[in-house]
Symmetry: C2
Subunit: 308 residues, 2 copies
Amino acid sequence: MDIALVGIGKIAVDQHVPSIAASPDWDLTATVSRQGSVEGVPAFDDFDRMLEENPGIRVVSLCLPPVPRFDFAARALKAGRHVMLEKPPGATLSECGELENLARAQGLSLFATWHSREADKVDAAKAWLADKTLRSLTVTWREDVRRWHPGQDWIFEPGGLGVFDPGINALSIVTKILPVPIHLASAVLRIPENRQAPIAAALSFAHPGGARVACEFDFRQEGEQTWTIEAVCDEGTLLLTHGGGQMYIDGQPTGETEVGLAGEYPRLYAAMAALVRKGGIDMDLSPMRHVADAFLLGRRETVAPFDF
Amino acid sequence: MDIALVGIGKIAVDQHVPSIAASPDWDLTATVSRQGSVEGVPAFDDFDRMLEENPGIRVVSLCLPPVPRFDFAARALKAGRHVMLEKPPGATLSECGELENLARAQGLSLFATWHSREADKVDAAKAWLADKTLRSLTVTWREDVRRWHPGQDWIFEPGGLGVFDPGINALSIVTKILPVPIHLASAVLRIPENRQAPIAAALSFAHPGGARVACEFDFRQEGEQTWTIEAVCDEGTLLLTHGGGQMYIDGQPTGETEVGLAGEYPRLYAAMAALVRKGGIDMDLSPMRHVADAFLLGRRETVAPFDF
């Protein structure tokens, strides 16, 4: 199937372009971007013109930032194209709901992707937890914003989400692997005095079985980076490390460690191909809803200024 | 039908109790509260005991604050009771989703009430706007927090919503009367330097027809109080005043002015009776979703400290 890619920035070049190139499902036949392009692929800067001139492109993948994303997604859907959205699927929950209604009215596929859910051991973790009695779930997501987002001031602007940009990845895994729903009970958001968005956050959730569910997100982690989820159950302890790339049950690893994003984006593009073939919408907003709840209910604390 | 009222505070005494007393549909047969009670009605402080001892009470109305509300609602639904929720329906969007799923699984009615939607002229405004071409919609909601919430520090605490406590009423009207969906484009939240929640806010929304949609909320309004919505259309101008109690079309009033909350709560209880009789769920979260979007996307500005 022919696909167009919109927003040729770092994540597009690092993940989307190679995943599409390696896929048996997709041919990258156009890009739309103000600056970037991909060698050998027709490049447009006018999205509507690309759609008009390429009626054979039935699918559009949007990896531009969340704030302008709604406009492009709505125009693609109105033009009869299936749409794939980078995470988070929009700047507001309301606009995501509008897109879902529009896709349904048009009979088109819409996929809100959560790449971390495709990490290698996430399905196995979900299967293991399905019949266990959870006592506590602890998420520790500590990374160095200077290393992963060097100079990207937008991440601390309104809508940039701050530490919830990686934190929403953890929440996308948690909401996939837990067999029951949770909701935020309290949160602390730590905001640098010269910024708008949190650089660290601590969340506590209510779990229907009374388990202690807590997340610790921190963007100030130098040295070793940590992306782990530990689930202590009556039947044993599950530990996900490497953002879902490795799983330990009672301390024993369960296979090779997948490092970095590795297979995540190829699996997303395979899932999009399957969704388009069978038809339908995959628009699970629960990770983003938890983030909005944290902004709504969280207590704000001012911390030291942050500069890149 | 027998009904129990939970949380006997100011809004219960001022609105819920008289509305139930005046209704042909309802008998108030129990209250649950840590402090308040209603003369002549059996008072409980243990919610589960009230449910156990009163199998004939099929409906529970919850008017306690949003943060503890989920627990009571979930227990009532699990005990097979229909539930009516004061606004906002919970402290988080995620918990509201859980309640909706629980009610559906139990085959029970659940009603997220928005009392301002029942203001006298709101239905007429919706009907008038249905076939008009909107150019701008301007919401002005300015009231004196010292007058309406004297000494209520909780309103400026996390989860208390600050000026969005009245502002969500305006949003509940806007989302009812507009024939198309809108989503937040930008917002400014003005937060007193000694408080957690905004004392004023300015919101700007994206409208599918390109109309300018803006809200101005302010909790610092002394003297005359303003709760108006003005809709300028190609075909004329609609003005709602008194929080929906009066409507002007091109400057001409459309009937008597309903002042204060007047008929709002009696209409809510009539709507709940109808919902229980026909079965089903009325859980429109759109006003709360817009507030969460404002907390998620809004730019925060620090303003002068506020004390009651």
